[in-house]
Symmetry: C2
Subunit: 131 residues, 2 copies
Amino acid sequence: MVKLGPLKLKAQLFCDGVNAMGPGKADLLEAIEREGSISGAGRAMGMSYRRTWLLVDAMNRCWHERLVETIAGGGHERGARVTPFGREVLAGYRALERHLAHAAEEETRRLTALMRDTPLPPPGRSMEHAA
Amino acid sequence: MVKLGPLKLKAQLFCDGVNAMGPGKADLLEAIEREGSISGAGRAMGMSYRRTWLLVDAMNRCWHERLVETIAGGGHERGARVTPFGREVLAGYRALERHLAHAAEEETRRLTALMRDTPLPPPGRSMEHAA
């Protein structure tokens, strides 16, 4: 999700109906790089291990190579890292986001000029205050 | 929501935290133009009258002028139409969507080249089949 003043932009890439890359998955890849494990990344993002693992698995099945590889050991995950291929996909997605934000600037400025700074209060609010 | 092959793009404009324009609201404005009433537009989009009315009300409170005006009569809504100002906002939003889709083309092509046509099956699937 890219924020540009009042504009929010969300770009998602689908592989035959499966979400292959989007704001959450890109953040997850960055968290795995930082934390060095799937469990650590999930904790840092407030997600269950199961959900985190499912997101990683979906990513790994959608691209020509794995984006994340795990180091198994003794039946437990001993760590994970983003592959060079994963870093390439991540960089391409972040470039797409930056490019979209830049492309949206002029039309966002034009639309924002037509928008109030704050919405009018919902109907009934003024009557409640008067009552 | 703009679709461009495997890419889905969603642009939303917020007025101090209130969603002022996005894919659903733009579709709703077009449905009101077509159907000539809020109730008809809601029916066409499979939404309750209450939900449809709340979306219209939020839009009308976020911009410098109303986007939709209703023709009241005998305690009932007799019809609704998109104001010239509403058509201006709608056209600006659709132009933003088109512009974003165009801007995304090259990076989407580059990322799509790294993506499979179909995801690999989830783990366990092949074992199930073998069992």
